[in-house]
Each structure stands twice: as C-alpha cells, then as structure tokens.
Amino acid sequence: MAEPRPIDTQQSAPMARTVYKIERLSKTYARNSLVALQDVHLEIHKGEFVSVIGSSGCGKSTLLKIMAGLMPPTTGRVVLEGKPVVGPRPDIGMMFQQATLLPWKTTLENVLMPIELREGRAAAKAASDKAMDLLKLVGLGDFADVYPGELSGGMAQRASICRMLISDPAMLLLDEPFSALDELTRDFMNMELQRICLERGATAFLVTHSLAEAVILSDRILVMKARPGHVVEDITIDLPRPRTLDMINTTHFGEIVSHIRDLLGKEAHQ
C-alpha cells in the first residue's frame, strides 16, 4: 500500500523457512457460481503466527478449508512443506469455533480420536500417555476420564487443542476457535495458545473477528476483503514476544488496533 504505515516495520528476524505457499488461489463455488476467493497469494514461514481478519463472508473459512485440503481450489496451488496439499494431511491440525468433542467419548478418548481413526485402537492406546501429557499441559489432567458434557466451554476448547496437537502437526489451522468463549476465558486461552506455539515452534494460521486477539497473537495480520475474497493488506506486528495481556493497554497496541480498524472501515465503506 502506498500510504505510510508507521507500525509496519519490515520483517525483523532473518527470514525463516517457508512452510506454506499459496499461489494464485481462486475458488468459485459451483453451486451458486459465487467467487469466494480470487487470486490469493500467501507465504507463511516456520514458527510464524498469521491471523486473517475481514468482514463476514469474505472467504476466510473457504481459504482455511482449502489450506486444510478439505476442499479443492478452482485454480492455483497450495504447497505445505514442499508437498502440494491434495487432501487432508496428518501434519495439519485444525480447530473450530465449537469444540466438537464427541459426547459419548471421555476427554482422553476425544484427544486420541485422530489417532484412533487414522491408525486404529491399538495405536490410540499406545498414545494415551502422550495424550495425558497434553491434557496436563493445558490443565485438564484431572478431567481425562470425564465426559465432555461436564466440561465448561473453555475446558472443552482446551481439550480440542490437545486433540489438535496429538499428531504433532507442523501447521495449526484455527477457525475462530475462541469466539464462543467469554472475554476473560478468551484472553486466558490466547495466552495458552501463544505458550503452546512458542514451546513447540508451531506455525499457526488463525481466522478471527477480534482485532485485539489478532494483534496480541500474531506476527502478521492479513486483512481480507469480500466479493471477490482477496487479501488487501499484510501487516507485520512488531510487538516483542512473549506477549502479555498488559500489552493490550499500551498506546502502541492501541495504535496498531486503530490502524487496522481504519483499514477495515475503509474496506467496509468502499
């Protein structure tokens, strides 16, 4: 963009290895010939946390589904770790707005579900120590044998984080994972997510509607615009890591948020 962006410093750290590469990606839904995405280019580097923000219906979930291999693009290609994405892959972990835990399985069994589906019961049983470690990591050690009906919304989402991590994915794809939670729980979950990503050096791609959440978590924020969905801004957030919740109250944080809000507002009124 031509206008000056005081907070958009250029990539500070030495450029890390590219994990995801998305080129000339377009998606037209055949059913209603709706152009959901047009000409999206995107590169995500190892260990990077990238958020995407944009008005409802601008194609965020569509982009995420294509990145996850759940849906083929109309044109363009998606490459993860050097291999084109042509279907679901074990090195991708996903999380959605609802925890989607199966109510007839215990928390532990839910966490083991991806392994059970992919490799069978024996493999799942063998991985239960690992699942327990993950549950302890998010503070759910005592709830392993409880059914999801007894978990709070935040606890259920923490369990679904464990389910996502059980197969050590290189890439985390998160579609508004905490938007159904109350604000305090959400802040807490954001810090948990940051800790987990830093500890594991995980690469993450987050769809969110919350500016504060995007800024506090991300190294880069993509602003998307609808009809047809495409990326209009790629903003680098230069806040130091690890981020803390007090940063939300700093003037710098406020400047970043209002800058993005301006951008979004402009898009909305165009």
């Binding site: 589904k65 996850a68 291999g69 759940l70 279907g87 679901p88 892959r89 074990p90 991708i92 996903m94 959605f96 707005q97 609802q98 989607t100 199966l102 109510p103 007839w104 579900m113 991806p114 589906l117 992919r118 059914y147 009906g149 197969s167």
Partner: protein, 286 residues
C-alpha cells in the same frame, strides 16, 4: 415498616427478602395428583352408571369392570385361552417391531446417507407415509392369509415409517464442523458414518422407536380386528359383538400393559445406549 423492597431493610436481618412462591401443584407429589385424578374419574364414572344416565351395555359400572378385570386376570395367570391370545399378539408385535427396525433402519441409512436415497427413495416414502396405512390391511390379508403373517406385516408396515424418518434425521444431525473435523483427520466415509453420524443420530433413532412402539401395537390389533385369528384383537372384537362391554374394557386394559412394557423397554435401552444425553435435545429421556 417492613417493606421488603426497602434497601435499608434488605441487609439488616439476613432474612430472605424475596421468596419464590411455589404453585400449589408443585408442592404435591406426583402420585398424589395422579391418585386424585383417578379417584375423581372413577367416581364420576360410578355416578354416571349408578344414576342410570348411560345404559349398562354402553358403559358398565366400575364394579362390574373390576370384577371382569379380576376374571380375565385369573384366566391369564392360569394359562387359559386368553394367555394364548395375549402371547399371539405379543409375538405379532415383537416380530413386527423387529422387522420394522431392520427395514426402517436400512431405509433410513439409505435416505440419510446417499444422494440416491434422498432424491429417489424419500419422495415415495413421504407419499406412502401420508396414506392411511391401515387401509393396506386387506391387501396384506389377501397376500399373507389369515395367519399371524398378515398382522405382522401390517404392524411392521405402520412402525417402519417413523424409524426411517428418525434414522435419516439423525444422520443429518452431525454438524458441518464435526464432519469437517473427521475429514481433516483423514476419516473415510464409512468411519464418518459409523463413528460420527450414527452415534450422533442415536437419540433421534430412539425417538423414532418410541413412536414406532405405539404404531406397532395399533397395527397388530387392527390386523387382528380385520383378519381374525387367535390374538387379543380378535378377542376384543368377539366380546364387542356379544355386547360384553366389561370384557372389552378389561381386555383393552391388559393390552395396554403390553404396549407400556414395549415402550419402557425402548426407554430403558435408550438410557443405556444414549447415556450422554440425559435431558433435553432430541430424544432426551422422555
């Protein structure tokens, strides 16, 4: 002044200032309410017959009915011909139910899981479901004769539809995100059906079974009314044609025990298998 809404007074005593008044009906136990209604109805019934407002042939007195109830009960307990009739009807109902479950479940999966089922099969099912299904009874009798077969067929025919509909509805119940989650971990279509859609649909399936358990009784008895034979339905019709109204009453009562038993077996199975859905939601406990 003891105005409860006065804030000065609210903290002073530590007394509750706002008491929720329970309605009268909430405070009496259920069995008391039920007994009360029962006594009231029987009392009214007794009054109506005692005063001769209704002829005894149309409405026997409670005492007469009770007497016959005991008589029929004794016959049933001593293994008389009525027990045989009840057994025939029980078998009809059970066979009908099992057939309805197998056909209904299979069709439900076909409709709920495949495009062909949804597009091609479902319209026909809806069309047949809107017909009065007992009208098919003469056909079944013509095809299967006056034996138990034609009654089983009618009972199964009536009970199949709610099971098809509820099974199919249950298969649609898993959310888009749940299906996406399964796909994202590489689940096959079969795994999604068996590990996600069917368990998610189980509460719906049981709701269908409860409706079907009522329908299967209606089918069996209608079949026996129209096709004769040795079942309870035939006994009822026979007693009615002899104007033995007390007998009709007591036969219906014992028959309802069979229906209740079936219904509660389904409820019991539901509690066992859908342990996670204790209340609310489709097919919450009752």
């Amino acid at each position: 002044m003891t105005d409860a809404t006065n804030p000065d007074q609210m903290d002073s005593g530590g007394d509750t200032v706002w008491v929720e008044h329970e309605a009268f009906i909430d405070r009496i136990p259920r069995w008391v309410a039920m007994t009360f209604l029962f006594v009231a109805i029987v009392g009214l019934w007794d009054l109506v017959t005692r005063m001769g407002w209704v002829s005894a042939i149309i409405l026997p007195s409670p005492a007469e009915t009770l007497e016959d109830l005991i008589f029929v009960g004794k016959n049933l307990l001593s293994g008389g011909y009525m027990l045989e009739a009840l057994w025939t009807t029980t078998l009809t109902v059970l066979y009908g139910f099992l057939i309805a479950i197998s056909i209904g479940f299979s069709l439900g999966v076909l409709v709920g899981e495949t495009k062909f089922g949804e597009r091609a099969v479902m319209p026909y099912l809806v069309a047949i479901d809107t017909m009065p299904k007992v009208a098919f009874a003469p056909l079944f009798i013509a095809w299967l004769g006056f034996d138990i077969g034609s009654k089983v067929a009618l009972a199964a025919f009536i009970a199949t539809f709610p099971i098809v509909v509820s099974t199919a509805a249950g298969l649609y119940a898993a959310t888009e995100n749940e299906r996406m989650l399964f796909k994202s971990v590489g689940a096959t279509r079969m795994q999604i059906l068996l590990r996600l859609k069917l368990p998610t649909g189980l509460p719906y399936f049981f709701t269908g079974l409860k409706i079907a358990s009522v329908g299967v009784m209606a089918g069996a008895i209608t079949g026996e009314f129209l096709g004769g034979g040795s079942g309870f339905g035939a006994l009822i019709r026979q007693s009615a044609s002899q104007l033995d109204t007390p007998r009709v009453f007591s036969l219906i009562l014992y028959l309802s025990l069979l229906g209740l038993t079936l219904f509660f077996i389904v409820v019991w199975l539901q509690r066992r298998f859908v342990f996670w859905n204790k209340s609310g939601g489709p097919g919450g406990m009752m």
